[in-house]
């Protein structure tokens, strides 16, 4: 009997090992692609950021930090701070709109839910370029928005609503909103309807329930959605360029100017690296913050 058992043991281990090998083989290719496609450009960018800038848009390999030193000038820091605050503002407003929207859609009848989701998915087919230029038409002096505001008596004389900070902010929110609603929909539709009902039998008003029960339960997805918006919009380029004044221009516009107008590729690379570092720092901070909260709970 013991002999038989000893014989079967290696045979039992075999399928598991084969499965692992097949899995490794299958995952090797995507892993390789990911490494090559994300790491190689990042390394090239790093190399370029420490290169020496020659006049006339040229550069030669070097190992100097002069470009990084240039980042410390107040003008660049101001633009960087503006970009990050614009991204965070967009994140807060879009999540604040998308969360209740996703919640109400998930509580509709099946048919209405499908109609809303199809509508949201179809708006994703609009490219950012198309949206930005549509906003330009909409907000122009002869556009529909101005006419409506005039008709309502909210505006005394017809003038264009762009370039302005408001136009940039509104357009960015419009662009990210359908993504965020679709992103939050699965989490929100899994919420147990009995939970708000239980809160109300204990004396909580609907608004109080939404703020103190429903929202904290989906805190994780809300935070992820906010981060996603920050990462998407911090490097935005076209929207501030078309709909904003120069003081509303973001780090994206700054990088483009450094690379294309001034021809200082190493400086543009250093600015891009700084942006990536800021994002990694933000991600770390959020993780740490949510970890702290979980530890408290």
């Amino acid at each position: 009997m013991t002999d038989v058992a000893a014989d079967t043991r290696p045979a039992e281990a075999d399928p598991a090992r084969t499965e692992r090998m097949v899995l490794t083989g299958l995952l090797a290719l995507p892993a390789l692609f990911l490494t090559v496609l994300s790491l190689v450009p990042l390394l090239l960018l790093l190399q370029l950021s420490v290169a020496h800038h020659d006049e006339g848009g040229l550069w030669r390999p070097s190992l100097e930090l002069t470009q990084y030193a240039k980042l410390l000038n107040p003008q660049f820091l101001k633009v960087a701070a503006f970009s990050i605050s614009l991204a965070i503002g967009t994140a807060i407003v879009s999540v604040a709109i998308a969360f209740p929207a996703a919640y109400f859609i998930s509580r509709m009848k099946r048919r209405a839910q499908v109609a809303w989701l199809v509508f949201l998915l179809s708006t994703l087919s609009l490219s950012e370029v198309l949206i930005v230029f549509s906003f330009q038409v909409l907000l122009s002096g002869a556009g529909a928005m101005v006419k409506t505001l005039m008709a309502l008596g909210l505006m005394s004389s017809a003038h264009s609503l762009y370039p302005s900070f408001g136009a940039v902010q509104a357009c960015l929110i419009y662009v990210v909103l359908p993504y965020i609603i679709l992103f939050l929909y699965p989490a929100v539709s899994q919420l147990d309807d009995d939970i708000p009902a239980a809160a109300s039998t204990m004396g909580a008003s609907p608004v109080w329930t939404f703020l103190t029960v429903t929202t904290p339960i989906v805190r994780g997805p809300l935070l992820s959605a906010g981060l996603l918006v920050v990462i998407w919009t911090v490097g935005t380029y076209l929207t501030p360029l078309v709909l904003g004044r120069p003081q509303n221009w973001t780090i994206g516009v700054q990088i483009s100017n450094a690379a294309m107008t001034t021809g200082d590729l190493p400086l543009a690379a250093a600015q891009a690296v700084a942006l990536v570092c800021a994002m990694v720092g933000l991600l770390g901070l959020t993780r740490w913050l949510s970890g702290q909260k979980d530890a408290q709970a």
Binding site: D194, A197, S200, T201, M202, V213, I217
Partner: protein, 351 residues
């Protein structure tokens, strides 16, 4: 009236009437079970009592005051949900203190009440635990403690034990009943489990098709079902089609049977249903044949050890008799048995 009074309550979802003209009076401190199959409207009725649904028609009154239009957060009837609906982001203590916080109780009062309730449900020192760290039975008790924290005038439980295994369920049923007796709180429990209803409730409201089919004490409902639905749903019943001959005689096929009494509405030669419990049917040998005896063919015998189930074919109808092992003659499938149907156990219901 002191207690809860439901009058002519109706609730329709589209064309479907979930609750149809229900009236019920529950005296203060009574334990009532809403018992019925799924889809009979019992949960909808409970949600209307809690204020989570608004009746289409009818009124709900508490201690004589009409509360039909009062929202759930004003009524504050403690409710335990089937899913329990514990708040996953809060600890056990914070879950229990949710209503206390809304009442404006300070930290010291909250702590004292949490400790009192956790002792009551036998979960001392669990205050700081996360809900996710608890077992099924512990969650159940936290949900009960949370619903009782605000000292509700009415305590509602919607199939609270359905997710527990059989042993734990029985334990929790006993615990809840003892707790209810101690607190003397008006309690309504929704269940589809007749054993649960029979063992816990002061009175049972049997629900079917959106209506209360019968309301009364557990034994009176079991002994004296009001109609075919109740006879079928509460315990096992043999239901036989009969023709009424006079006020205590019916005809079943070729057999003339004496019965307890026929419904007042039924006149001679109308059709009715004879109901008799399996344990009330006596199997006798042919030579003992007396009145109220019918001859049947045994189709199947199931010896369960503590009792014997005998399935019979009687005038083309399936019949079930449950006998004690010591009374069992040992006959097998295909044998002819003589069944005595005691007159006072034969109830005639509307067809």
């Amino acid at each position: 009236m002191f207690g809860l009074e439901i009058t002519g309550v109706t609730k329709a979802f589209g064309a479907h009437k979930a609750v149809d003209d229900v009236s019920l009076a529950i005296p203060q401190g009574e334990f009532v079970c809403f018992l019925g199959p799924s889809g009979c409207g019992k949960t909808t009725l409970m949600r209307m009592i809690a204020g989570l649904e608004t009746p289409g028609q009818g009124t709900i009154a508490l201690n004589g005051k009409d509360i039909t239009r009062q929202p759930a957060n004003v009524r504050k009837f403690g409710m335990v949900f089937q899913s329990l609906a514990l708040f996953p982001h809060l600890t056990v203590g914070e879950n229990i203190a949710f209503s206390l916080r809304l009442q404006g109780k300070d930290a010291r009062q909250r702590k004292a009440r949490i400790e009192e309730l956790l002792t009551l449900v036998r979960l001392p020192d669990m205050e700081k635990r996360a809900v996710s760290q608890l077992s099924g039975g512990q969650r159940q008790r936290v949900a009960i403690a949370r619903a009782l924290a605000q000292e509700p005038p009415v305590f509602l439980l919607d199939e609270p034990f359905s997710a527990l295994d059989a042993k734990l369920r029985e334990e929790m049923q006993i615990e809840l009943r003892l707790l209810q007796k101690r607190l003397k709180i008006t309690t309504i429990l929704v269940t589809h489990d007749q054993r649960e209803a029979m063992s816990m409730a002061d009175t049972i409201a049997v629900m079917g098709e959106g209506r209360i089919q019968q309301h009364g004490g557990p034994l009176s409902i079991y002994r004296d079902p009001a109609n075919k639905f109740v006879a079928n749903f509460i315990g096992l019943s043999n239901l036989l089609p009969v023709e009424v001959l006079d006020k205590d005689t019916v005809r079943f096929g070729a057999n003339i049977l004496k019965v307890a009494s026929t419904p007042e509405a039924s006149r001679p030669s109308t059709l009715a249903t004879l109901s008799i419990r399996p344990e009330d049917i006596q199997i006798t040998s042919a030579d003992q044949a007396q009145d109220n005896t019918v001859a049947c063919k045994i189709t199947f015998v199931r010896d369960m050890g503590s009792s014997v189930e005998v399935h019979l074919d009687c005038e083309g109808r399936d019949l079930l008799s449950v006998v004690q092992p010591r009374d069992w003659t040992g006959a097998g499938a295909g044998d002819i048995a003589h069944l005595r149907l005691p007159q006072n156990q034969c109830r005639v219901l509307a067809a």
